[in-house]
Amino acid sequence: MRKLTNDQEVVQAAGANIGELIDDLEKAFPGIKERLCDQDGNVRRFVNIFINDEDIRFMEDKATAVKAGDEVSIVPAIAGG
């Protein structure tokens, strides 16, 4: 994922919700949005987004609200057992 952000592990972004956050990231790192979202603008099947350690799929997906100081992690999905 860091290739998308010039190898930076942590970046800053702003937005009222996850969807807006991704649009903001797109301004700083053009091309990142189409990697994270499909044509309908929904987060891709294999992208996990956590806001303060909570999975947004347990919340409101891309409509999940974001506030200043929140820590958002974008991690590829994996599983096993």
Binding site: F46, F58, P76, A77
Partner: protein
């Protein structure tokens, strides 16, 4: 061409967009983060792999080596697999079907679960790639297998598990000298942590950066079923689902054998998935008629081995079931225990909770007509009951206690004979 490279296993490929990747320790597509899957030159395999060739090889999962993703000879887990396919006439009668088999991985070598199959591939490949430390995120069986196989291969290992797993599974990792890290959280949180660790350390996480290799090992269960049935497929296969990976790989194994002409390409078959009601994200989505799997935030079931709330192969498992005309089912904790006992009492096979789930869900699939009574069925029983004893404590009766006296014994037997006659 490097003569040490397999001419059969050619590259990795994204399951979402199809982009190709080299045979390295990568597991995720750069473009859309889709999972990468091992891909083969089936024409080359077809030229080499015939029934006769397979039948002449030792009885292990590696008799199908052209279809497993390593370059050289396997160096870890060379004796894994080729577990018994048991014809289960007494269980068949109890369930009201004509022809039933148990694929019995409760006795898989060396750690008594199907995970030895995936670990054998992953660690053989890890060795080829030069990894010195291997690791995994696990609900129990995978940790046992990584710990044991790493020990036998002289590899250092770390296994990360939820801290509240069954004692048998915890001890069954510790004893091998692995580094066990118990996380205060559910499996999904362990998983997420491991994906972050794998990005930072140079470790071979079998179900993270080595996942495309690891996952292919499950195909061997399907290959064996086909071969042991006499080079044909069962009409119905019931598979327990945690991440959904095993079900998708059994589906792939059947397709590959048909593609290679090893079995009849026209034979229809259905693959059904089984989950516990307390954590049934895949079954839930299937029953709602969708392929969008809503995660289960707090899995709550005695089937801890299947307690994955966010199954990454859920989407593919749903499609495999739909495409083959199969169905998903789930069952209560009570039904799981009944399933364990039924299998043990009718066939003498003691399965862990995931096995109880499979039997209980098979019963439901039969009762609802998804499995016809006169069509052949295989139940995939994936792990040994000694590892999840907590699930059945107090549920199988107790020993009758007497003093070492012949009189007391005879009185006991006489009482039981009378009770039996009255019943």
């Amino acid at each position: 061409m490097d003569k040490n490279l397999s001419p059969y296993f050619t590259h990795l490929k994204c399951r979402e967009c199809g982009r190709k990747y080299p045979k390295e320790a990568v597991h995720v597509c750069d473009f859309d983060f889709g999972p990468l899957e091992a891909t083969y030159d089936y024409d080359a395999v077809r030229a080499t792999l015939t029934r006769k060739v397979i039948e002449a090889r030792p009885e292990s999962m590696w008799r199908y080596r052209e279809l497993l993703p390593i370059d050289g000879e396997p160096t870890v887990g060379t004796q894994v697999g080729f577990t018994p396919l048991v014809k289960a006439d007494r269980l068949a009668q109890r369930l009201g079907v004509r022809e039933l088999y148990i694929k019995n991985d409760t006795v898989n070598y060396p750690t008594l679960s199907f995970k030895d199959r995936v670990v054998s591939v992953a660690l053989s490949r890890a060795r080829e790639m030069g990894f010195k430390v291997v690791a995994c995120a696990s609900t129990g069986n995978l940790a046992n297998s990584v710990a044991a196989n790493a020990a036998s291969a002289g590899l250092k290992s770390y296994v990360l598990i939820p801290a509240d797993l069954e004692q048998g599974k915890v001890l069954g990792s510790l004893v091998y000298g692995t580094n066990v890290i118990g996380i205060h959280g559910a499996y999904d949180q362990v998983n997420r942590l491991c994906s972050e660790i794998a990005g930072k350390y140079g470790w071979g996480f079998v179900n993270v950066n080595l996942r495309p290799y690891y996952a292919e090992g499950s195909k061997s269960m399907g290959f064996e079923i086909a071969e042991q049935l006499g080079w044909k497929l069962p009409c119905h296969t019931v598979v327990p689902m945690a991440s959904g990976s095993l079900l998708t790989k059994i589906s792939k194994s059947y397709k590959e054998f048909q593609l290679l002409g090893l079995i009849d390409a026209n034979q229809r078959y259905a693959i059904h998935g089984a989950q516990a009601a307390g954590c049934a994200p895949i079954s839930g989505a299937f029953k709602r008629g969708t392929d969008i799997v809503k995660p289960v935030q707090k899995p709550d079931t005695i089937a801890k081995s299947l307690a994955i709330g966010t199954p990454a192969d859920g989407y593919y498992a749903i499609h495999a079931m739909r495409l083959t005309g199969g169905a998903a089912e789930d069952c209560t904790d009570e039904e799981i225990v009944e399933g364990i006992r039924l299998l043990a009492e009718s066939e003498g096979i003691f399965a862990e909770t995931a096995g109880g789930v499979t039997v209980a869900c098979a019963r439901k699939l039969i009762e609802t007509g998804k499995i016809s009574a006169d069509e052949s069925t295989v139940l995939c029983i994936t792990g040994n009951g000694l590892k999840t004893q907590e699930a059945i404590i107090g549920k199988c009766g107790e020993p009758r206690l007497i003093k070492p006296s012949l009189r007391e014994f005879e009185e006991l037997i006489a009482r039981e004979v009378t009770a039996e006659a009255a019943a």
